[in-house]
Structures are given as C-alpha cells and as structure tokens.
C-alpha cells in the first residue's frame, strides 16, 4: 500500500493530477444538476403550483 501511494517517487504529480481531475469532474456533475434544478424551479411558480395533481398530506385540526 505504501509503495502504491509513493508512485515510484512521482506521488506528488500523480495524486495531484488525479485529485484535480476528480474535483473538476465532480464539480461538473454538481453544476449540471444545479442548472437543471434551477430551470425546473424557474418554471414552477409561473406554472401550476396552485393546483398540484396530488395534495400533500395535511392533518386537519378539526
């Protein structure tokens, strides 16, 4: 394991590259998902929030 992490002396370069790649790919996924959610949120108020297909469960206090 220790030998694997050492990467034959190139540890700093190899792990930096893989780390930055993991970060950028993850950031991309997060940004795309956020972009999609924002697009959905943007059309919801103008749409049909007032009359949802199924009512949420509400406990009536009567």
């Amino acid at each position: 394991m220790k030998e694997f992490l050492a990467m034959g002396g190139y540890a700093a370069y190899v792990w930096t590259s893989y780390g930055i790649t993991a970060f950028v790919v993850t950031l991309n996924v997060w940004l795309a998902q956020r972009r999609y959610r924002q697009a959905l949120d943007a059309i919801r108020p103008a749409g049909t929030q007032a009359e949802p297909v199924r009512q949420p469960t509400v406990r009536r206090m009567t």
Binding site: F4, M7, G8, G9, Y10, Y13, V14, T16, S17, Y18, I20, T21, V24, V25, L27, N28, V29, L31, A32, Q33, R35, Y36, Q38, A39, L40, A42, I43, R44, A46, G47, T48, Q49, E51, P52, V53, R54
Partner: protein, 250 residues
C-alpha cells in the same frame, strides 16, 4: 425511420427532453463503472513505464480530458452551425451546454499536462510548444464563445453571434491535432492514433481506452442534463412544459 422524420424528432423539444431523461441514468451508471474500472486499471493494473516509471499514469486522466476538450468543441461548432442555418432550438441548446463542460475539460488537460510536464520535461509550461499554446487558445475560444453569448440580452442574437465565433474557432482544431507533428518540440507525438501500430502495449492501452469511453459517457450525461435545463428555459411557456410541471409537482 426516415432521415427526415429523425431530423424532425430531434428538433422537437418535448421528444428530446424525454429521451434525455430516459437515457440519462443509464449513461450515468455506465460512466461511473467505466471511470472506476479505468482508474483501477491505470493506477494498479498497468505496468510502470520503462522510461517514466509510475509518473506516466497521469496519461489516464490527461489524454481523456484533452480528448473531451477537443471533441466538445467540435460538437459545439457543429451544433451551433446547425442551429444557425436551420434555426433549430435544440441545436443551440446543445451548443450552449457543450461550452462550459468543454472548457472545464480543456482546463483539466492543461493543468494535468503541466503537472506531468514538471517531472518529465523539467517545466510546467513552455510558450514555444505549439501543442501547449494551441490548447490554451482552445480554452480562450470556449471562454470567448461563452462571454460573447452572455453579452446579449436577446437569446436568439446571442445564439447566432456566438455560433459564428464557434465556427471560426474550428481552425484551431487541426492545429491542435497536428501541432505535435508540424512543430515537434516538447510534447510527444500521438500515442494511440496510429491504427496500424499504436506505440503503447495492450495492458497500458486498455485502461486508457476504458477511461476515454468513461469520460465520453460522463460528458454525454452532462450534456443531456444541461440540454434538458436549456429546453425548459427556452420552452418555459409551452403547454407541454406546463403539463410536465403539473405532473412533476405531484
């Protein structure tokens, strides 16, 4: 299905939106599996390089990133020109979506290349190397297209003007591709793009191809997600979107 009908369906926002929604999860799962397998293969299974030792393993993140950066530009330029010529909403949606993703992978190619260059070439950057400089130009082209588009309040105008820049920028694509042959300076020549005899052994090549496939699917997933968002933005007043929201809020 005829070509005309296919083209018609690909131009239909609700069809593309639903198709993207159906394909998305499968593309995403396949991407995760391939990237995990490629990473394991590249870091563990592949033998160390006879010249670069374990340092060569950076290739498994560097080459796929560079490949996506370039491929995304080509996709963006083709989509932008289709949108420009046929006034196709979906094509512009694809072009808009490809830009930030392509830019980020180009950035990744530049950074991992610099980190790889330090131990192997003794420098992070070399202005005299054509591959490095043309790759940097690619990043600036992406940023230029994005900024140009963002500078218009009118979406149609932004689509059309940025499409022109995207298409003009295509001249940089062959320059990047052949830079290592036309001006051979620091950057090494092609590794796998020689069909007769790739200059790499199978146990090093398979993880690389796996990683490229994984990155491509990851890119596809990102584009599908972003295109869905673009379609919702552009079709916000359409009846099918209204119905979709009614159903989605249930």
């Amino acid at each position: 299905m005829g070509l005309k009908r296919t083209f018609h369906l690909l131009g239909s926002p609700p069809t593309v939106y639903r198709l993207a929604g159906l394909l998305g999860p499968w593309v995403g799962i396949a991407a995760v599996i391939l990237i995990a397998a490629g990473t394991y293969g590249g870091l563990v299974l592949a033998p160390p390089d006879y010249l670069q030792g374990d340092g060569f393993r950076i290739i498994y993140v560097h080459v796929p990133s560079a490949y996506i950066g370039l491929m995304a530009y080509e996709l963006m330029a083709v989509a932008a020109s289709v949108g420009f010529i046929w006034h196709m909403k979906i094509a512009h949606a694809v072009a808009v979506s490809a830009a930030p993703v392509g830019a980020s992978f180009t950035f990744l190619a530049l950074v991992t290349g610099a980190v790889w260059g330090k131990p192997m070439w003794g420098t992070y950057w070399q202005w005299a190397d054509a591959r490095l400089v043309s790759e940097l130009v690619l990043l600036f082209l992406y940023l230029g297209v994005m900024l140009l588009r963002a500078s218009f309040d009118d979406r149609d105008k932004g689509d059309r003007v940025s499409a022109v820049l995207a298409v003009v920028g295509v001249v940089n694509v062959p320059i990047i591709h052949y830079s290592v042959e036309w001006w051979s300076t620091l950057h090494q020549g092609p590794t796998i793009a020689q069909l007769d005899a790739p200059s790499i052994t199978m146990d090093m090549l398979v993880p690389l191809l796996t990683m490229i496939a994984g990155f491509t699917l990851c890119f596809a997933w990102l584009i599908l997600k972003r295109v869905q968002a673009e379609i919702l933005d552009r079709e916000s007043r359409a009846r099918w979107v209204e119905q979709l929201v009614t159903g989605a809020s249930a």
